[in-house]
């Protein structure tokens, strides 16, 4: 997966500190390798099948590839957009002219080319205990990414779309992106992240991002994942929230062969707030692994998570919700609720809620279930004339729809609902 990494011409190479950091990360990766199932955060996700495959290091033609127009406009919601194709930023396909004053969107490659020093804190890091093979590999070879900042006090009126597109390359390629998103004090942004792919593209994407939400800032972040059916997608997102900052996160995970998202939200500031709503709907042999790890560090912080999982056929889902309340985070209020639905006897979902509390006056709740569609409810619908398959679809959609509550604008929510409906059993047949 990292062969020939050294031969890759990476942006910013020649900078002493960057070369050294990359070399060190590569050494650490060679030592640690990819995570295996002894790692608590990878317990239910095996990478053995992936290790059998080979990936070219990046797509050399990523900046020239033609892209179907439908992929460029994955949702009907208007707004500026930054487009990545096979791991490379495509200024020619992006639409960033309408960004308001105070909002800067650049590719990592151009940021490193123009002014690398402000990114040093992000990239010049030593391997630590939290790093796994994917973050190390990313640090060693990430060739691009998104550098986004919203200045203090700026409220971005339109949704900003980040569109990750996978298209067919000569050989299956692996790419690694490193992104930084910063919201200044009191800033507001709605970020809609799309993952979409042409069919039959078996790429591997590895995305690592740091998201910093300063005092009183608010981020709405919606991830709509429709990666192509043979794609592998690994993401780690670290969010850090200062005093009174808030993040509303929504995820709709529908695509990919193996899709993982490790979300680490640190509620560092007092009264900061992280609300997450997510659903995956899997079929065939899809595998999804959602790790939602919240750390309460500030006082009177709030985290609230509602996740739903649906697996049909031989699909496999994993949900891990962990709430860690650190000493001093008094008055924290954390909850994690996860319900899952198995539509086939061969499907499997593992859910593990975990609470670790080291502070006082803390409210913490969690609950997780795995079950099947209620026969009584199915019969009720059928007794009113609704055919079995439609009844199943109605119930699965209802099961997931709670996770779409709060998505704005309404057109985006409707778009998500339509995608969900397409993914349901009969619609696929």
């Amino acid at each position: 997966m990292c062969d020939a990494a050294a031969s890759l011409r990476l942006p910013g190479s020649g900078l002493g500190w960057l070369d050294a950091a990359r070399a060190e990360a590569l050494r650490a990766f060679a030592e640690r390798g990819l995570p295996d199932q002894r790692n608590e955060l990878w317990k239910y996700t095996s990478l053995r099948a992936l290790a059998q495959r080979s990936y070219a290091p990046g797509d050399a033609d990523a900046t020239n590839r033609d892209v179907d127009a439908a992929l460029l406009q994955p949702s009907p919601v208007p707004g500026p957009r930054a487009v990545f194709v096979n791991g490379a930023f495509r200024g020619d396909l992006s639409e960033l002219d309408s960004l308001p004053e105070g909002v800067a969107v650049r590719s990592l490659a151009s940021a490193l080319h123009e002014s690398p020093e402000p990114l040093r804190f992000l990239l010049d890091r030593r391997a630590d205990a939290d790093d796994d093979g994917f973050t190390l590999l990313d640090r060693a070879v990430a060739a691009d990414g998104l550098v986004l900042s919203v200045a203090a006090g700026v409220e971005v009126p339109e949704s900003l779309h980040i569109v990750h597109i996978g298209v067919a390359a000569d050989t299956a390629a692996a790419w690694h992106l490193r992104s930084l998103i910063e919201l200044g004090e009191g800033a507001r942004l709605r970020l809609v992240e799309h993952h979409i792919g042409a069919e039959q593209t078996g790429h591997l994407a590895n995305l690592v991002r740091d998201i910093s939400v300063r005092k009183g800032a608010h981020l709405d972040w919606i991830v709509i994942q429709q990666a192509s059916a043979d794609a592998a997608l690994f993401r780690r997102s670290k969010l850090r929230l200062q005093d009174d900052a808030s993040v509303d996160f929504h995820a709709l995970e529908l695509g990919g062969k193996l899709a993982r998202h490790e979300i680490r939200a640190e509620l560092a500031g007092a009264q900061s707030r992280f609300v997450s709503r997510g659903a995956f709907v899997l079929h065939g042999r899809q595998h999804a692994d959602m790790e939602v790890l919240v750390t309460h560090r500030g006082r009177d912080t709030l985290s609230n998570a509602v996740w739903r999982g649906v697996a049909d056929d031989r699909a496999r889902g994993v949900v891990h919700g962990r709430i860690l309340v650190q000493p001093g985070a008094d008055g924290a209020d954390g909850s994690f609720y996860n319900k899952n639905l198995l539509l086939s006897p061969d499907a499997e979902i593992d859910t593990r809620p975990a609470l670790e509390i080291y502070a006082d006056e803390v409210k913490a709740n969690h609950g997780a279930t795995v079950g099947q569609l209620d026969e009584q409810v199915l019969f009720y619908l059928r007794s009113r004339g609704i055919p079995l398959e439609l009844a199943r679809r109605i119930l699965v959609r209802a099961f997931c729809s709670v996770t779409l509550d709060g998505i704005e604008p309404a057109s985006l929510r409707e778009h998500c609902e339509a995608l969900l409906a397409e993914q349901l059993p009969e619609a696929r047949a």
Partner: protein, 254 residues
């Protein structure tokens, strides 16, 4: 319209119906009464096609068709409606959406044009006025958080909208106070018509003061042991079900 002959049915290996026969014609209201465990609800569930019930003998024809070989949704499209004793709550499914999906699925199955949302809303508004339904309940999830009375009224409202040819009310009166009972009965009476038959399953005679049946049948131990007119219900009320058993065994002995 409905002809049940020598029906035997079991659930979880236990025989509940043991040779039940009954015939109902269009326009008739049949009350099915009987003690707990007699098989009243089983009859309703077998007719509607609830999974888990196994018919071991006998036949049920509906408009000349073998009802028992149809899936529940096909029975509904053919005109069978069961008002549930315990209507289920369906979180996340809007009541109006549900009603439209049901009505259109039935229309589609019958080869009729489906209604678009404007046509459907017009129809629903008309029925809301007719049935004295609380319009607010239509915007909520199906039965979620409804009171017992609201759930039963919602069943009758669905019936009014779906216009079945055979309506089976399974203890629709259970758990209702007198005001709710009157409302439900008024809803049912409004739907009485020469084209429609009713099976009103109830434990108590009280409901039959408001829905006056043409025929009353007493079900005991899986069979109909006594049939009569509305007067039979009043005698039952006066003498209790013990009277029927004695009466029936005396009759059988005679």
């Amino acid at each position: 319209m409905l002809k049940i002959e020598n029906l035997h049915a079991r659930i979880a290996g236990k025989e509940i119906l043991k040779g039940l026969s009954l015939e109902a014609k269009a326009g008739e209201v049949h009350a099915i009464m009987g003690p707990n465990g007699a098989g009243k609800s089983t009859l309703g569930n077998v007719l509607a096609g609830r999974p888990g019930y196994k018919v071991t003998d006998g036949s049920v024809t509906f408009d000349g068709k073998n009802l028992l070989e149809l899936e529940p949704e096909a029975r509904a499209a053919a005109g069978v409606f069961l008002a549930f004793q315990y209507p289920v709550e369906i979180p996340g499914v809007n009541n109006t959406y549900f009603l439209r999906a049901a009505l259109n699925a039935q229309r589609k199955a019958r080869g009729e044009q489906e209604l678009d949302s404007m046509q459907f809303l017009k129809l629903v508004r008309g029925k809301v006025n007719e049935m004295g339904m609380t319009p607010e309940l239509l915007n909520r999830a199906v039965n979620e958080g409804f009171s017992g009375g609201e759930k039963k009224r919602n069943e009758v409202f669905q019936m009014a909208l779906l216009e079945p040819r055979l309506a089976i009310l399974d203890e629709t009166d259970s758990g209702l106070d007198i005001d709710a009972l009157k409302q439900v009965a008024a809803g049912v009476n409004a739907l009485r018509s020469p084209e429609r038959a009713f099976l009103v399953i109830t434990h108590y005679q009280r409901l039959l003061d408001y829905i006056v049946p043409d025929f009353v049948h007493v079900l005991a131990d899986g069979r109909i042991v006594e049939s009569g007119d509305a007067q039979l219900a009043r005698e039952l009320e006066a003498h209790g079900y013990g009277w029927v058993r004695e009466h029936a065994s005396a009759g059988a002995g005679a």
